[in-house]
């Protein structure tokens, strides 16, 4: 597994990939992609046991991941591309007709690494719970991970899944929330007033961990801690993040939830993000 400095290099490149992909596409979701970049980089390059060479959708004998917040497709594709699931050059096709990099993750278009479509929010946690239950039935000890947005947890199905996973003792399920406090129409607090997510997940019978979602060493450590719990309860890691993190004019606002930078803005962002692995 990659060391911290290496992970930081990857996440810097992934951020460049996100901005460049969305700029080329002319639309897409950069804000949440940037807030969850360090989480997914740590997961794919530092923690998760999943090999692109032997990956299959069924995930037998491997860890599995479902992106519940499907609009984070840019970061998902960038991480998968950098991890070797498909040629990085394909990132240039994001959201273009005929691409495997559909606007939201798709099975039908056959991009390796994708386990289940997402985009309609609040559903990935249920599918991840099904995967975790299946692994339990098979006596497999691998983990199932999923990433939700904090705005996404306004969906009622999230809490159906929360009850289900706790009731069935799915301690091989590690869910993560990109807690960036932003959604399309404004801050989560203004739009929906979710309240105390820590207490809510605890009340639903989950192990709840909190972590700085931009400290990549801490992310790796908290994921390893989550794996070690195995106490009959699923795990929710609430990652404190900043929407648009890494690009000063995009950071901390909902305004970049679903908007592409101009070419000039892209160039400005590139000055702030080191090219570490070579642009696609």
């Amino acid at each position: 597994m990659a060391k911290t400095a290496e992970l930081q290099k990857i996440s810097s490149q992934v951020r460049r990939d996100i901005i460049r992909m969305v700029t080329m596409a002319g639309n897409g979701h950069p804000g949440g992609s940037l807030s969850s970049t360090d989480i997914l980089t740590a997961l794919y390059f530092g923690v998760m046991k999943q090999d692109p060479a032997t990956w299959t959708r069924s995930g037998k004998g491997q860890d599995m991941f479902i992106l519940s917040a499907g609009h984070l497709a840019p970061v998902y594709y960038a991480v998968l591309g950098r991890a070797g699931y498909f040629p990085v050059s394909e990132m240039a096709t994001l959201r273009k007709f005929g691409t495997r990099l559909q606007g939201h993750p798709s099975i039908e278009h056959g991009l390796p690494g994708i386990t289940q479509p997402s985009g309609s929010l609040g559903q990935g946690l249920s599918a991840a719970a099904g995967l975790a239950l299946g692994k339990k039935m098979d006596g497999e000890d691998n983990y199932v991970y999923t990433l939700c947005g904090d705005g996404e947890t306004e969906e009622g199905q999230i809490w159906e899944a929360a009850m289900f996973a706790a009731h069935h003792g799915l301690d091989n399920l590690i869910a993560m929330t990109d807690w960036n406090h932003q959604q399309i129409d404004g801050t989560v607090e203004d739009v929906a007033g979710e309240g105390d997510l820590v207490e809510k997940w605890k009340a639903f019978g989950w192990n709840v961990l909190e972590c700085d979602g931009h400290d990549i060493a801490a992310i790796v450590a908290i994921l390893e801690k989550a794996k070690g719990l195995r106490n009959g309860k699923p795990v929710m890691i609430l990652f404190h993040t900043e929407m648009g993190h890494g690009v000063d004019f995009m950071a901390g606002t909902h305004k970049w939830h679903g908007k592409a930078p101009s070419v000039e803005q892209c160039e400005e962002a590139m000055k702030q993000l080191e090219e570490t692995l070579g642009d696609f």
Binding site: K60, A129, G130
Partner: protein, 321 residues
């Protein structure tokens, strides 16, 4: 006039949901990948035998259908063959988007077990009586839509659904209805079953209205009209060839279903015939309205879903030739 019709015998009324339960049990015995899920309706879905024999493969989801559909998709990706069951309204309309994304678009090997379909759910009234589910489900790419006609065929269709690789919507009902198909006949997905050959009019039906169509054919024979009766047990993919061949022969068609007019089997068949063999058609369905409280028999009569109405519709269709 003698139409040389095959006689079908009701071997004793049985509910089609029990056919599902029996098929689920058989499928579970035959294949350890079969898993059953329900949203607090184990007894209503007749899953008790399966749950008792295979408790490790029975998943109680509580009253949370949206989550159940997602969990079923996850289990399917894992390699299981999940049957997720609830009342027809709650496993279609309530979770349409979940089915669309997790089952149909994801093309997961999930079997949606849809009980208490249609108006004959009876006394619970319109909140529980979906007459729109066929329209919703047949609109989804990748999804196979099956509506067998009696206990025996529902059992066989359940076993066939388990063997089929891909998402399936399996529709059945609550009330006891005549059981008349061969208990040993294997169910073939996508095949129309021609139960009687005739030359004057084609009666096309699905679900328990197939029995009503057979009764109507007997009544029509007495009036000198020889009716062909086709059981469309698989609504999608539709056996277009059987429908077109019959329409070209009889030149008059009636479609009967326990479903509203919008998007049901009638409109589906009309679409096929408009393209390939324009034919005078009459429709027997629930119209464009909600159900209401009543016994199944009362509701069938009130909504015109019985043999007597099929006979009248057949005469009208014949007169339009």
């Amino acid at each position: 006039m003698d139409c040389n019709m095959k006689k079908y015998i009701d071997t004793g009324k049985k509910d089609t949901r029990s056919g599902f339960g029996a098929g689920l049990y058989e499928a579970g015995k035959a294949d350890s990948r079969v898993v059953a899920l329900t949203a607090d309706l184990k007894g209503s879905l007749k899953m008790d035998a399966f749950a008792k024999e295979f408790p490790e493969r029975f998943v109680q989801c509580g009253i949370a259908e949206a989550n159940m559909v997602g969990v079923a998709a996850g289990l399917a990706i894992n390699g299981k063959i999940p049957f997720a069951g609830s009342f027809a309204e709650f496993i279609t309309g309530r979770v349409y988007d979940q089915i669309r994304q997790e089952v149909a678009y994801g093309n997961t090997n999930v079997k949606l077990a849809s009980s208490h379909a249609g108006i004959t759910l009876g006394e619970d009234g319109a909140t529980h009586q979906t007459m729109e589910d066929i329209a919703l489900m047949r609109a989804l790419p990748n999804l196979v839509v099956i509506n067998p006609c009696d206990f025996n065929q529902t059992k066989a269709a359940t076993i066939a659904a388990a063997k089929y690789e891909g998402p399936v919507y399996l529709r059945f009902g609550r009330p006891s209805v005549p059981n008349f198909t061969d208990p040993d006949e294997e169910f073939v997905i996508g095949k129309a079953y021609v139960l009687n050959e005739g030359k004057d009019v084609t009666l096309i039906a699905c679900g328990h209205l197939v029995w009503e169509a057979l009764q109507a054919a007997e009544a029509l024979e007495a009036e000198g009209i020889c009716a062909e009766v086709i059981n469309i047990a698989t609504i999608k993919p539709l056996d277009e060839e059987a429908i077109v061949a019959s329409a070209l022969k009889t030149k008059a068609v009636v479609v009967a279903e326990e479903h509203n007019s919008g998007g049901g089997l009638g409109e589906l068949v009309a679409g096929v015939l408009a393209r390939r063999a324009p034919t005078p058609m009459e429709m027997i369905n629930g119209g464009d309205r909600f159900g209401q409280t009543g016994t199944p028999a009362e509701l069938m009569a009130a909504y015109g879903l019985d043999a007597a109405h099929i006979v009248e519709a057949a005469k009208k269709a014949v007169a339009r030739k």
